[in-house]
Symmetry: C2
Subunit: 446 residues, 2 copies
């Protein structure tokens, strides 16, 4: 992990920590990271990003150069700088595993640590869990829309920067995408990589057929992009190439990237079938999202697989989540917050998923330590600043876990349309009572 992340935080974290040190506020704090409300078109979210968070917490240190920079701001005390010089995270983390479907108000993770430590790590934790949960949640919709057909994500060029590039590819794979175009995600995480060809390749040649010939010489089992000039003429060129090569023709698919994909895929399928190329697949791409994919398939478009770019890469219909990291307890006392429409459930928590015949029916948000029926979702993943053994699944294991968890959602929830009423998340009586008591106590205060 790049050293520079130590300063990838909001300035106010340092200011607050400085003041905590001044006041000697080192008691145990509990911070809860959760999404307040789901975006309108999400029936659930897929938690993701824990791996980066744990690595960050294990390795966060401040270099002399970073401390010099902070000192140069002429705003912080020597006390803070000395504290940061020796900083390491010593706290505890409970979290839902990556790939778990979660809902509003449910903690994705909780940090239990001395107040200054738990405060200092806020921004990076949010930055990573937000992005990766956002991406996995969008990708799960795309996978659902593909109805079992393979999907490749190739949104790197319009994802927001290099970090999003690799993290979104990983999150999308966890959510069920089959391949990424992103080579670094392949190298770093082992996500399977794939790729076809760009229009520029065709354009660089004097004619399209010549371009196809050249590409197939190097990559016999490739996918040919047929829409650079005119999609159906492109298909004719593929057919001509198949005739030229005879048994040596091993091209697997053609890709349609523009125009009316329903009409074009039908016409292309017909042409290919007529030419005896039934086994040649048709891949659809070109500004697709889960809605256009689902529409094409509901109209029986003969599309065998999809390439999805920008819409997945930036979660275009919901590019952010209302995700927060809130203090819920300090020094053993529950804490609340009453800002307009941002009221908080106090205290450390557990989420119980109530299932019948392996299908989730509702979740109960309870106080940590409550004994309740249902499957608890939050597990200890870090203690005293070290990962708990056996909580570092491989990427393949996370993906498989996520697939199983998604299957346990009510089918309507996995669909693209908003479910009304939404999946039920209720507070346990004890939790509800605690919030009421704290609110009343505050209202009665001077």
């Amino acid at each position: 992990m790049d050293d520079s992340v130590a300063l990838l935080t909001d300035l106010y974290e340092f200011a607050m920590v400085d003041t905590y040190l001044d006041e000697n506020l080192h008691d145990e704090a509990v911070f809860s990271l959760f999404v307040r409300r789901l975006p309108a078109r999400r029936n659930f979210l897929l938690a993701c990003g824990l791996e980066d968070v744990l690595r960050y917490l294990e390795t966060l240190r401040f270099t002399p150069e970073q401390l010099d920079y902070l000192a140069s701001l002429d705003r912080f005390s020597d006390r803070l700088l000395r504290y940061l010089e020796r900083f390491h995270f010593s706290g505890e983390v409970c979290a839902v595993p990556e790939g778990t479907p979660i809902f509003g108000e449910e903690p994705i993770l909780e940090v239990v640590a001395p107040l200054p430590e738990a405060q200092l790590v806020e921004t990076y934790l949010l930055n990573q869990i937000h992005l990766q949960t956002l991406a996995a949640s969008k990708a799960a919709r795309v996978v659902e829309a593909a109805g079992g057909r393979p999907v490749m994500e190739f949104g790197l060029r319009r994802m927001h920067g290099s970090d999003a590039g690799v993290k979104v590819a990983r999150a999308a794979f966890i959510a069920g995408i089959d391949w990424t175009s992103n080579v670094l995600a392949g190298q770093r995480y082992g996500v399977p990589v794939a790729g076809t060809m760009a229009h520029s390749f065709v354009q660089a040649h004097d004619d399209e057929l010549e371009a196809f010939r050249a590409f197939v010489r190097c990559f016999p089992e490739t996918t040919l992009l047929v829409d650079t000039y005119d999609t159906l003429r492109g298909v004719q060129h593929v057919i001509r190439l198949a005739r030229e090569l005879g048994d040596g023709f091993h091209v697997r698919a053609i890709r349609l990237d523009s125009g009316d994909l329903l009409a074009l895929s039908r016409a292309a399928r017909q042409m290919l079938d007529d030419a005896g190329l039934q086994r040649l697949k048709i891949i659809g791409s070109g500004n697709l999202d889960e809605d256009s994919m689902a529409r094409l398939l509901s109209q029986q478009a003969p599309i065998d697989g999809f390439g999805v770019g920008t819409a997945l890469g930036v979660s275009s219909d919901a590019p952010c989540l209302d995700m927060v990291y809130k203090l819920v307890a300090y020094g053993g006392k529950d804490r609340i917050k009453l800002s307009a429409s941002k009221v908080l459930f106090p205290g450390r928590k557990q989420v119980f998923r109530m299932e019948e015949e392996e299908v989730a029916r509702r979740d109960v948000l309870a106080r940590h330590g409550e004994q309740r029926p249902g499957r608890p979702l939050l597990r200890p993943v870090m203690r005293a600043g070290k990962r708990v053994e056996g909580t570092s699944p491989s990427l393949a294991e996370i993906r498989e876990y996520s697939r199983r968890e998604l299957k346990r959602l009510p089918p309507a929830l996995r669909g693209l349309e908003p479910v009304t009423p939404p999946y039920r998340v209720e507070a346990s009586p004890v939790l509800a009572w605690t919030r009421e008591q704290l609110t009343e106590a505050w209202e009665a205060s001077p």
Copy 2:
């Protein structure tokens, strides 16, 4: 620049380069990077990201580990691996300076290089210019909406990953934002940093007034966040603190972060004024974007400055641009592309901005080398793989340049509402004729 960016690309770039090498296609290619159409609510875009692109082009190399990974995919030729082993970018780049307002179809940059080199760099160039242009364009709207009041951006926690975190902060500063909360952006680029306090700070204390007292002891000239429990009771606490401290009270502002900011800012202003605290400023924040800011100010909300987070950080109303990197010439021949609604202007280009009395009236998209009236926007910034001297302005210079360029736009264009008809960008007669000829030639081809 982190080594790993060499693999931060789409797999197909390597496949295409491999084939170009096989075919010996090393002639000069021209690629043009531009936005096809502006998002519905953008009257212009602010070009940004060139600095990272030039650094990438100057330093791009492949390490032995990276080549091993590519070899392990068992898909590329030794010829490709040997080529990458010796790779360095030797081409030329023309670009509009960072901070230049641009429109649809106008090249933000053009790469002129041997085909394999120009192809290989596609994905990273798009990834960086897309993100940074997106962010600068959104930030320019936020700055406009603030009507001269200072604006701080603090969206790091919900920006898409670490790279977006620093790049968006830099882009927003170029577009006129005054401060960022992002400490790394401060250290790396010298963007001024600022910060206030979080609700968790107030919650960690047994009462709000005690929290204010503690914070002000450490940071006397701070901004106090007053909405943790009840905004107007928070304001009362600030007033009480002012009385306690007398001449020792140096707090500069209060921050309202939730609720009805119009009503609350009026009530807070009244209370502060009645208490003789006229000089205390009011900062508004809480899910603000340019529209809500403009609305508040049009209703005369007494807000002296703004904090803007997520909406700016992810460009929430338009989280992506239709930005592409297209081959427009190869081996001295113009190239076109005729895919449905993605038709391309062929050849290397220049953009001439036609101004009257220092206000832009229309742009003319012309062929490179055409002599025309108007101010040419594209300039050579790299030759033979090295930066052209005098084309590395400081961040402050870029910001000042951008401010001047924005002032030269017609005022309506800088407003938040879409201008109809949009700003005029026309093709020069020579360019229009070239496209027509190429299209006709293609249509007449067998």
